[in-house]
Symmetry: C2
Subunit: 255 residues, 2 copies
């Protein structure tokens, strides 16, 4: 399996044809996996916004006030309003805003980016509205027929640091299913559902990097999904997520 970043992508602007920009710079094959950072997907889709687009509700003011108390820093209630509008549930209100986005991803600040906003003067970059559809659209517009994954980078419980994750995908199932298969000794496997889109997003992160030298597009080549059932069920419902349930009932307390 080979993984490499696609070099030389220009600054992406609303309305740009990402598929064309990528294929001008990479000779894609039908069995490749193409990984595109949500930042450039959002820019192409015009998901840039200004703080003034989000006049704060009383709830947003309350959230920003609490975050300001906890952090000792000023917090913009318009930003809290943007997070509220991008989310279906606020899971944690302090010491940071952890929410579920409309498409099911759980992340800090609903994944809204205040860096990477480009040179157009916008304040905010929102995540793609429906990353599965974004991936499918890019895929349709390509001459080749690779799988496409829209990726992001975010933190996680239990472990420090951030790693690549998938937000949306097309032409590949989210997971491969090893259920019912056995190990060398005939025991049933402990590992049953492997989240390949997240593992591919992590792989992409290793070669794209961050920062001003960061490249937003990567290709994984000569990888095989193999002969397995697949599933597209990646984001847990709150009913099946004990951590989300626990966080609902939790209150941040300062020492």
């Amino acid at each position: 399996m080979d993984a490499f970043a696609v070099p030389g992508l220009p600054e992406v602007r609303p309305g740009d044809d990402l598929a064309a920009l990528i294929e001008e710079r990479a000779d894609l094959r039908d069995d490749d996996v193409l990984l595109v950072a949500s930042t450039v997907v959002s820019k192409a889709e015009g998901r840039l916004a200004d703080l003034d687009d989000f006049p704060p509700s009383p709830r947003a003011k309350e959230i920003a006030g609490r975050l300001a108390d906890v952090s000792g820093e000023e917090k913009d209630p318009r930003f809290a309003q943007a997070v509220l509008e991008e989310s279906t549930e606020i899971i944690v209100e302090a010491p940071f805003l952890l929410t579920a986005t409309k498409f099911g991803h759980v992340g800090v600040n609903a994944g809204i980016d205040r860096s990477n906003v480009g040179d157009g003067g916008a304040d905010l970059l929102l995540l793609p509205e429906r990353p599965d559809e974004s991936a499918a659209r890019i895929r349709r517009n390509l001459a080749a027929d690779p799988a496409v994954i829209v990726t992001d980078t975010c933190g996680r419980p239990f472990r420090h640091g951030q790693r690549g994750v998938a937000l949306g995908w097309a032409g590949i199932p989210a997971s491969r299913d090893w259920r019912g298969e056995t190990d060398r000794d005939g025991h049933e496997l402990a590992v049953t559902v492997e989240s390949v889109v997240d593992e591919l997003a992590a792989t992409a992160n290793l070669v794209t990097g961050e920062g001003d030298d960061g490249l937003p597009v990567a290709v994984v080549r000569d990888w095989e999904f193999g002969d397995h059932d697949g599933s597209d069920n990646l984001f847990r419902d709150v009913e099946g997520d004990f951590v989300r349930q626990a966080l609902r009932g939790w209150e941040f307390a300062r020492d």
Copy 2:
């Protein structure tokens, strides 16, 4: 960057020299990253055990009884005892046992495996006691000088499915640090600490697979850590982990 599985490793037994077994089958280079599944590390280190090695304490009986109530299945209190002995904290008691291991990893059943136990008749395979030392030992015993990562596969909150993670590492920092760096537009980066050992473990999983065709060793070649500060701080302390704090106060309730 290239990633491939090392083929043909025999069934590993206590006392085996893993480094030698691997180098007989792979021509390692000094700038490779060698990823070794904890299952074979544990086997080589003799971390096999029998349920009878763990006479259950009253606490283990209580835990097993609760799990049996919740699941409607019989639960072996000796297994609960094994999990207790491998853990520093029981974070969740039901509907499954989520614990922190002595070396800091948070996982279900302290990562104790009831499949993959090999053909020696043992009931359980415990995780390596100190995976950092395991990685360092393998590295010392190799002729080449690659980085070495001991990996596992486990689930996570918010998302279905399992993915590769690092348990221990040597010859590479756990994370690369992008703090203070800026994006193309001069904004400070949102992504600051990238957990490269976890991303490398995820990459390895894509090429090793599971099951009776699964291969426990992979190599990542031609990947560069780059010119960054590194950190070995991977496992969150409970003080810095709001999810762990929330789970401490949470009680599973059946519908």
